[in-house]
């Protein structure tokens, strides 16, 4: 399985990326939404995109909207991974097309549970 980790913090990209790699994912990273769209346009189609909300250039909500408006990216599952934890913000993200929502800080166990809910946990990973 492939994942694209989108966050303006390199530290957070490494944290999320390493958790996903421990679950067997191959990962790529992008520092903001525009850079992530460039990765998709190159032809890298991930099973999962983990998307921060507050980023420079193009924020996570704009990225989610852009991906959802392109039928070529329909297979990409979008999970917001963000500090934005108010109910209204979660509703906005889900309405824009995000499939799941993870609030920072989170643990590897929480990520595993979300992936299991999405059917994106490789079978060899035990719950």
């Amino acid at each position: 399985m492939r994942a694209l980790v989108i966050d303006d913090s390199r530290a957070m990209r490494r944290i999320v990326g390493s958790i996903l790699e421990d679950f067997g994912y191959e990962t790529r990273q992008a520092g903001h939404g525009r850079e992530a769209l460039d990765v998709l346009e190159e032809g890298y189609l991930p099973d999962l995109a983990c998307v921060d909300w507050n980023m420079p250039v193009m924020d996570g909500l704009q990225f989610v909207s852009a991906v959802r408006s392109n039928p070529a990216y329909r297979s990409v599952t979008l999970m917001m991974v963000t500090t934005e934890s108010e109910h209204g913000q979660i509703v906005r993200a889900l309405a824009a097309g995000a499939h799941e929502y993870m609030i920072k800080p989170f643990t590897a166990d929480a990520m595993r549970d979300k992936l299991a809910l999405l059917g994106l946990l490789p079978q060899e990973v035990t719950l």
Binding site: I15, G17, E86
Partner: protein, 169 residues
């Protein structure tokens, strides 16, 4: 502008208990810094030179959430955050990025505890910004691995170069 905001907004001690900030920090430390890593709420003397990272909150309450420690502590925090795949050499930009992300996660959770709606700015790092109003300050003085570390939620921190945006009277 910041003076006007300070005048009208509810001071942070009326909105946020330091115990909530400590509780948020406990979660952040366990999840991001590492299992068994604890931010102990016992103050130690401040070092002469400190570095800070902060995020601005803009809403019914305006201000910043600021994390402050000394440089070796910031570097040690960075090593912990990057524990899975640490680079061979930790560069200053790695430290700024990691400390900024700590401020970002703390700030996002503090924002959620405040009256909203509010927006969160992007992390900034640099010399510790002054707290402009002592009554609009929520402070957690703590130590991590025995070293000085503070988290402050402080009202209406003037943005860097804010004077350039001031409208002359």
């Amino acid at each position: 502008m910041s003076e006007l905001l300070s005048r009208v907004q509810e001071p942070i001690p009326n909105l946020l208990d330091p115990a909530i900030v400590q509780s948020i920090a406990d979660d952040v430390w366990t999840s991001l810094v590492g299992d068994g890593e604890v931010l102990v709420p016992l103050p130690v003397p401040a070092p002469e030179v400190t570095v800070s990272a902060w995020v601005q909150i803009t809403g019914p309450w305006c201000g910043a959430v600021v994390v402050t420690c000394d440089e070796p502590t910031a570097k040690a925090l960075t090593e912990c955050l990057l524990r899975a795949r640490p680079p061979v050499v930790i560069e200053p930009e790695d430290v700024a990025d990691a400390l900024g992300e700590l401020a970002n996660v703390l700030g996002g959770n503090v924002k959620a505890a405040l009256p909203g709606p509010s927006t969160l700015g992007l992390p900034e790092t640099g010399p510790t910004p002054p707290a402009t109003r002592p009554d609009d300050l929520c402070r957690v003085d703590a130590q991590w691995r025995g070293q000085y570390l503070t988290i402050t939620v402080q009202g209406a921190v003037p943005a860097p170069h804010a004077e350039r945006n001031e409208v002359p009277l």
